[in-house]
């Protein structure tokens, strides 16, 4: 292939570049998958409607935001935070407890409180939750940065955070009454009929991608992830990077917790263990999204844009299957196949790119 390209008088076109850069197996697999997806989209009733497109992105929003945060950890070469759902669990208990706390009610004792009072209650609960999530992230990041195995550290932290949330709430549902200041985030929409959480997902995806592409911090993430020794040689230790990336992931998890609590006006320590995704486990679902997005598990290669598209892709396939009447078993199978497929394709692509190099 490269010989052909070398004798060609003009630059190779897209098809030529694809044939040059990727193995026939990868091209066949991706083509097959895209064909199936396109056929499903065309032949599935009610799939290509504005309402359903909104549903797909809304469906992807919560897990997508978490996955975007986790992508920073993965890109920096620190594997995964296996405590994502437990950080969310601790955060949702913290947020709901503060939303319902008597000392945090700023309106009149009787009657509906003014909007400013609702906002004040929300802001206090939100900020305290974010601080706690940041601390949770920083502690994990510091331990990983000091050389701790990310799997061991984050599994241990997961138990710690879940235990604190469980003890704090006494395993009960913590609820607070509507109207409240988190409703605008959980169920509101200020751009037409697009839910605010969908807008938040899109904004976070854009900001995260811009940070990774165009800031010094973003380039450092890739550098440390791709080659830790090179990063150290240029003064970028993994210690600081691990702390920063884990804080970003934890804050994203806490944001999702706040948004979900705002939607259901309550919290329970188990909300993120059994309620999200076909796999029934939010951490697994979030990791699946990062993998399906084609990010390198070893770090240094990938992007939050890929992760966002991975979230939408999984949501799209799941949506299509529901519209075609598949039950949960088949949908779990589909998610599993997507992960395996993406890992195979990614491995082949990497092998192909190394061969080109």
């Amino acid at each position: 292939m490269s010989d052909t390209a070398a004798v060609s008088p003009s630059a190779p076109n897209l098809i030529q570049r694809i044939r040059r850069d990727y193995s026939p197996l990868v091209i066949v697999m991706v083509s097959l998958f895209l064909t199936v997806l396109l056929a499903g989209a065309v032949f599935t009733d009610d799939f290509l409607t504005w309402f359903n497109v909104k549903t797909i992105i809304r469906d992807a929003a919560l897990v997508g935001i978490m996955a975007i945060g986790l992508t920073f950890v993965t890109l920096s070469g620190n594997f995964f935070l296996l405590s994502m759902k437990e950080i969310a669990a601790l955060s949702i208990i913290c947020f709901a407890t503060l939303m319902g706390a008597e000392w945090n009610q700023w309106g009149p004792a009787d009657g509906d409180p003014a909007t400013s009072a609702l906002v004040a209650t929300f802001l206090i609960a939100f900020l305290v939750t974010m601080v706690i999530a940041s601390i949770a992230g920083a502690v994990q990041g510091a331990l990983i940065g000091l050389g701790g195995n990310p799997i061991v550290v984050t599994l241990g932290a997961a138990g710690l955070f879940f235990g604190i949330g469980s003890w704090w709430s006494d395993n009960l549902v913590v609820s607070y009454r509507r109207p409240h200041g988190a409703e605008w985030l959980g169920t509101g929409s200020f751009i037409g009929d697009i839910p605010n959480i969908t807008v938040a997902f899109i904004l976070i995806a854009i900001v995260a991608e811009l940070v990774l592409r165009y800031t010094t911090f973003g380039r450092q993430v890739y550098l440390v992830g791709a080659n830790r020794a090179a990063g150290r040689a240029t003064g970028h230790e993994n210690f600081g990077m691990a702390i920063k990336c884990c804080i970003i992931a934890s804050v994203c998890a806490a944001f999702v917790a706040v948004a979900f609590s705002g939607q259901v006006s309550s919290a329970h320590v188990n909300y993120f263990s059994s309620e999200f995704g076909s796999s029934g486990d939010m951490t697994i679902m979030v990791i699946a999204i990062v993998m399906v997005g084609g990010n390198s598990i070893m770090g240094g290669y990938g992007s939050t844009l890929r992760t966002s598209l991975g979230a939408i892709f999984i949501s799209t396939v799941d949506n299509m299957m529901v519209l075609n009447g598949f039950n949960s078993g088949a949908r779990v199978l589909a998610v599993g196949l997507m992960i395996v497929f993406s890992i195979i394709v990614f491995a082949l692509v990497r092998r192909g790119s190394r061969a080109v190099e």
């Binding site: 549903t55 009960l172 609820s175 259901v264 309550s266 909300y271 309620e275 949506n319 039950n327």
Partner: protein, 340 residues
């Protein structure tokens, strides 16, 4: 010094005698069940522990994380320890896969009470009875409630009786019991099931399942929603509201279990639910143990917890007397966002 030694010996003797007497009189229970971290099971555990303490039983609770292999291991550990209780309470994580452990418990000769999941034919040879909810009655009552709401709508000149079902996963044992009982209850009415989504347990999955079903069914029209439990239904109601439906006007929602959101019923967004109280279930289990230990048998082999209907009109007055003699209001009996 001698007097002091004598006094100490006497005190020790009294202590040992007292402990021996207690050990001889206090009967013990071992319960195998799911984790307290799950809201329903957490309240169930509170029910069995408090009632056991009240009745003077020693109780040990072994929690598994919805994992039959873990529960099997706990059973083996208890049996290997050699100190057996007077009664086992058995809530299998998976009724079929857990049959081996149930058999092992029964082989010890210690009586076993099965709870929460109705016994099948294989279970019956190993247990002395069942205490727990009746999925069918719960679903049937929900069907009757919806039927009542549909009749009122028709009488008022309303049109449209399409029903969306937000289900448990179809692989879950309670699904078949619930959907069949619900269908039987609405048979012969104007109600017509047009969709059945099984996204999963809980509010988030209820929301996601409903959102997808709305995309598929909005042209056909959704007029009623049956949630197999209130947590799923709560998510579904949010999805319907986001899609522009006015709950209570465009769509009538009926749930079960009472593990959702009290405020939805207060606001008329949810027509009603049927109570399934975990606290009561825990108390009922101890009551059955007490009856068996006293008489050697149960008056009734199957013992269901009551499932009264709860609507906006009766929610402040519904109360059940617990097996500890206390009267419990709805906020204490329910397990979702009901104030505790």
């Amino acid at each position: 010094m001698t007097v002091l030694k004598k006094a100490l010996r006497f005190a020790a003797a009294v202590g040992i005698l007292g402990a021996a007497t207690t050990a001889a009189t206090a009967q013990s229970i071992v319960s195998f069940n799911g984790p307290a971290g799950e809201a329903y099971i957490g309240r169930f555990i509170k029910g069995i522990k408090d009632t056991a303490a009240l009745k003077g039983y020693d109780i040990k609770v072994f929690e598994n994380q919805f994992n039959q292999a873990e529960q099997d291991q706990q059973v083996q550990q208890v049996l290997a320890a050699g100190v057996l209780p007077d009664v086992f309470i058995w809530w299998p994580s998976d009724a079929v896969a857990g049959l081996g452990s149930l058999r092992a418990l029964a082989k010890t000769g210690i009586p076993v009470l099965k709870i929460n999941q109705l016994p099948n034919e294989q279970d019956k040879q190993y247990i002395f009875g069942y205490a727990g909810p009746d999925d069918r009655l719960r679903a049937r009552n929900a069907g009757y409630m919806m039927r009542e709401a549909a009749a009122a709508k028709k009488a008022a000149g309303g049109e449209g009786f399409n029903v969306l079902v937000l289900s448990y996963p179809h692989s879950y044992g309670g699904y078949g019991l619930s959907i069949n009982a619900f269908k039987e209850a609405i048979a012969g009415s104007d109600l017509n099931i047009i969709g059945d989504v099984d996204e999963g347990f809980g509010q988030a999955n209820g929301y996601k399942g409903a959102a997808k079903a709305i995309a598929a069914l909005r042209d056909e029209g959704i007029h009623f929603v049956y949630g197999m439990d209130d947590a799923i239904l709560t998510g579904g109601i949010k999805a319907l509201e986001e899609a522009g439906y006015k709950m209570g006007e465009d769509v009538v929602a009926v749930g079960t279990v009472c593990n959702g959101d009290k405020q939805l019923i207060e606001e008329g967004k949810q027509f009603g639910t049927t109570l399934q109280s975990p606290l009561h279930e825990g108390q009922l289990a101890i009551k059955m143990v007490e009856e068996y230990l006293a008489t050697g048998e149960l008056a009734n082999y199957i013992n269901f917890t009551p499932n009264p209907a709860v609507t906006a009109t009766n929610m402040e007055t519904v109360a059940l007397r617990g097996y500890d003699g206390k009267l419990y209001g709805i906020d204490e009996l329910c397990s979702g966002a009901w104030g505790g």
